[in-house]
């Protein structure tokens, strides 16, 4: 397309290789700041005061690559670290560890002015149409600001380009002198687009750009983004929580859970042949706008654990419906599934106390597992069963449940390969010719 809207047609980097490559990118946040932050006071120990800074492991050892011209979708639930990853890539946040190669140059090594200059090649679009535009600036100034920062064009040239861009994103160039508050959410996202494109970047991180918009507006903005990608030769990293939007816009999709990439594959492959239990759960959970479709839903139990103290090994294992049986025990058919369900019920204390016999019936159809595993299960049942004592104090009762939980988790959950090793497997894709990465030990 020769619209003259491109500022640099030539590319100095190798177009064959990836545009962006992440190697072991990690971002931890320390939880508090302040002179006395992290100070813990515990009268039970000596000395009673200790300094212990807790870290939120927002992104942990993420490696991936983004190819020129593609849209990589990054999907996950709130708190999974997807936005943090997006910002760390642009070095709006300092990576705790890892390398970020953009056009072959390691961004993690750049400092100050060098880094600032690379920003003309990478831009970002934000989620919140309200707060992403300075309310005191006019639309024209907003769009010109990045160009001004990089000394592109002269005043007249910038104005002309800003008006051009307004038109490109579907706004009236005559709105050049308006303030952002005069625009609706969808229009503000268009202004955001125009600002990002003003320096003619190669790579744009889109952080939930349409999730604040109404469905009908969403479609308009998505279509515009599509068109602009072709015209400007853009590469998108598209961050979203909405799988439908991701399916529409992406070429390849990465799924994140609690700071880890759990699955990465080409779009069709990922949606039609998901290999990670979390991806499957996610896909099954989305309500489909079709009343005749009645698939399973809500298959995930419990809640996302705290990123301050994430589970070892596979971070999804605490909720995984397919947690692998620990090898240390011998399991007959179905025994492990029953034990797993029993373990989680105890942990979540999701039933009222009952007698040992009732528990065996409820969770094991009256036939608890035998062998070593069986004796652990029996021990746990004894701990929580209310046969013996009739009137236990509430505190005692809580202690018993806790003891049973610890026993079961230590004996089973922590023994599973899922808890001991961090999974990472390359699979043969069923569709397309790309690679299929799945972080699940089921593919051992």
């Amino acid at each position: 397309m020769s619209s003259g809207i491109r500022l640099d047609e030539e590319h100095t980097y190798d177009r064959e290789g990836p545009l962006l490559e992440l190697e072991g990118v990690t971002k931890y946040f320390s939880q508090e700041s302040g002179l006395l932050a992290g100070m813990q006071f515990d009268p039970g120990t000596f000395p009673p005061i200790s300094v212990d800074r807790e870290h939120v492991e927002a992104v942990d050892d993420v490696s991936l690559e983004v190819r020129p011209g593609e849209t990589l979708g990054l999907v996950g639930e709130s708190g999974c670290g997807k936005s943090t990853l997006g910002r760390t890539i642009l070095r709006l946040l300092e990576p705790t560890e890892g390398d970020i190669y953009f056009k072959g140059e390691n961004l993690a090594d750049l400092s100050g002015e060098e880094l600032r200059r690379t920003r003309s090649d990478m831009q970002m679009i934000f989620q919140d149409p309200q707060s992403s535009l300075d309310p005191r600036m006019k639309v024209g100034q907003i769009i010109e600001e990045p160009m001004r920062a990089h000394g592109l064009l002269d005043d007249e040239g910038r104005e002309a380009r800003a008006k051009d861009l307004l038109e490109k994103v579907g706004l009236d160039p005559r709105h050049y002198n308006r303030h952002p508050h005069a625009f609706s959410g969808g229009q503000r996202q268009r202004i955001n687009l125009a600002r990002a494109l003003s320096v003619d970047p190669d790579f744009v991180v889109c952080d939930e750009p349409v999730s604040a918009l109404d469905v009908s507006i969403q479609a308009q903005v998505l279509n515009t983004m599509d068109e602009l990608q072709d015209e400007f030769g853009l590469t998108y990293l598209f961050i979203a929580h909405d799988l439908s939007v991701i399916r529409h816009i992406s070429d390849r999709v990465a799924v994140m859970y609690l700071g880890h990439i759990v699955e990465l594959a080409e779009k069709e492959e990922l949606f039609e042949n998901p290999q990670h239990p979390y991806t499957r759960a996610l896909l099954e959970s989305i309500p489909v706008p079709d009343p005749r479709e009645d698939g399973a839903r809500g298959v995930l139990e419990g809640e996302v654990p705290s990123p301050v103290d994430p589970p070892s090994g596979c971070r999804f294992r605490t909720r995984c419906p397919r947690l692998i049986a620990p090898d240390a025990y011998d399991w007959a058919d179905g025994e492990w599934a029953q034990t797993r369900a029993f373990m989680r019920a105890i942990k979540r204390r999701s039933f009222e106390s009952m007698s040992a016999a009732e528990m065996r019936r409820e969770f094991f159809d009256g036939r608890p597992p035998g062998g070593e595993a069986g004796s652990v299960v029996e021990e746990a049942i004894d701990l929580v069963a209310n046969d013996g004592e009739t009137d236990r104090e509430a505190d005692d009762e809580a202690d018993c449940w806790e003891a049973a939980t610890d026993l079961l988790l230590d004996s089973f959950a922590e023994q599973s390969v899922c808890a001991r090793e961090r999974p990472a497997y390359e699979l043969e894709p069923e569709r397309g010719d790309g690679t299929h990465f799945s972080a699940c030990h089921l593919h051992r």
Binding site: S216, A219, N223, S244, R247, I286, R292
Partner: protein
């Protein structure tokens, strides 16, 4: 209709009297809810669905006011207006008084679940205390009984370790857990009808799935009726029995859920369905709806959807269609407010198509200034159509 419905709303009109003019947030709404069914109220933001649900509870806050309509619940009039001798509108004599609505209807007959689980619970009281207060009030139980009922209900809605969590404060609960607490509140008062105002919008998709499952189970168990307010057609398809689609304060289509999706009768519903990306299949090109919903303060003439409607004709600008029965789906009426249908007979077929509906009414003009009719200084954007689905039939 075979039997008296649980709730009947007729010609409900709620308006907000602002400096800038009268906002007709809900403008002539009629629908009903029967025993044990989930009725969807669907629309984009600004459609008036939340105002409608608040109107049913009599909880419209100033400067808003219900100016017309009748709401009947279990045969009793909970809202009704009549013209007094002086020509002023006043409350009908047979309607329940405010005090009666408060003590007899709110909570114990009709309960609500709000959209924002983070803000809806009082931060300085324990979750259990708040739950217990509502139970005591609406079921007349003593303190201990109410507490036992509250803990049972917390367990019922899937909150782990309910005895301990009873004593905890809202900020110690995650969003999904708080939403469960709100659901527990609604159910614990044993109402016959629950109004759920976007209850899963603020939640993650897996949590939403859990909540929908929960509602399904509990609804089967208690037989409670629901009015489910949402903008998400996926959720509608999953749990609703019958659906009302709202646009700019009016119901444009009313049908059982299957008919709505497979035998769509209104262009707005149709366009909405076409514009959403699908999780179950790849859609290469989204067909966006042109423009945005105009302000309810200056609704377009005739059919309110006509400036954005791909099927709009000259007549649509003039005739304002009320929803009429256009089809019958196994005894269930299928209503739509579109003059395309034979039931209207206003000469749609002969009417010439509107000039440049798809491209002429620009996104910019509608979105920005909010005035869709009068000529504003800002003319239509010549490139407006490259923002949407292009020109289509």
């Amino acid at each position: 209709m075979s039997s008296e419905p649980l709730l009947r709303v007729e010609n409900l009109k709620t308006q907000f009297f602002t400096e800038a003019g009268t906002v007709r947030a809900v403008d002539g709404l009629s629908f009903e809810v029967r025993e044990g069914e989930i009725v969807g109220l669907v629309g984009e933001s600004g459609a008036g669905k939340s105002v409608a649900s608040m109107s049913i509870m009599g909880l419209v806050e100033a400067p808003g006011e219900i100016v017309a309509g009748e709401i009947t619940y279990k045969g009793e009039t909970i809202f009704g207006l009549e013209e007094g001798p002086d020509g002023e509108l006043r409350k009908r004599d047979d309607a329940l008084s405010d005090e009666e609505i408060r003590t007899r209807i709110r909570g114990n007959e009709i309960a609500v679940i709000f959209q924002d689980p983070m803000e809806s619970l009082n931060p300085v009281f324990t979750v259990g205390g708040q739950l217990r207060e509502f139970i005591e009030l609406n079921r007349g139980l003593g303190e201990d009984e109410a507490k036992a009922a509250a803990i049972d209900m917390l367990r019922e809605v899937g909150i782990p370790d309910p005895e301990e969590r009873y004593e905890e404060y809202p900020h110690q609960f995650s969003g999904g857990m708080r939403q469960r607490v709100l659901i527990a509140m609604a159910l614990a008062c044993e109402p016959s009808l629950i109004i759920a105002d976007e209850p899963t919008t603020a939640l993650d998709v897996t949590v939403e799935g859990q909540i929908l499952d929960l509602v399904d189970d509990l609804q089967a168990k208690y037989g409670t009726s629901f009015i489910w307010v949402t903008h998400d057609l996926g959720v509608v398809a999953e749990i609703c029995d019958r659906v009302n689609v709202m646009y700019l304060g009016e119901i444009v289509e009313q049908a059982p859920v299957d008919e709505l999706f497979y035998d769509t009768k209104h262009p707005y519903t149709n366009a909405l369905l076409d514009s959403i990306p699908r999780p179950d299949r790849t859609v290469t090109e989204l067909e966006a709806i042109e423009g945005v919903m105009p302000e309810a303060i200056t609704p377009p003439s005739g059919c309110r959807f006509h400036p954005r409607c791909p099927d709009a004709r000259e007549v649509c600008k003039r005739v304002h269609p009320e929803a009429k029965v256009v089809d019958d789906a196994g005894g269930e009426p299928h209503r739509a407010a579109c003059v395309q249908h034979d039931a209207f007979d206003v000469g749609y077929d002969e009417s010439p198509p509107l000039e440049g509906v798809a491209g002429g009414v620009s996104t910019v003009r509608d979105e920005g200034s909010g005035d869709s009719g009068a000529d504003s200084e800002l003319a239509a954007n010549p490139t407006g159509d490259d923002s949407g689905g292009g020109s289509r039939e």
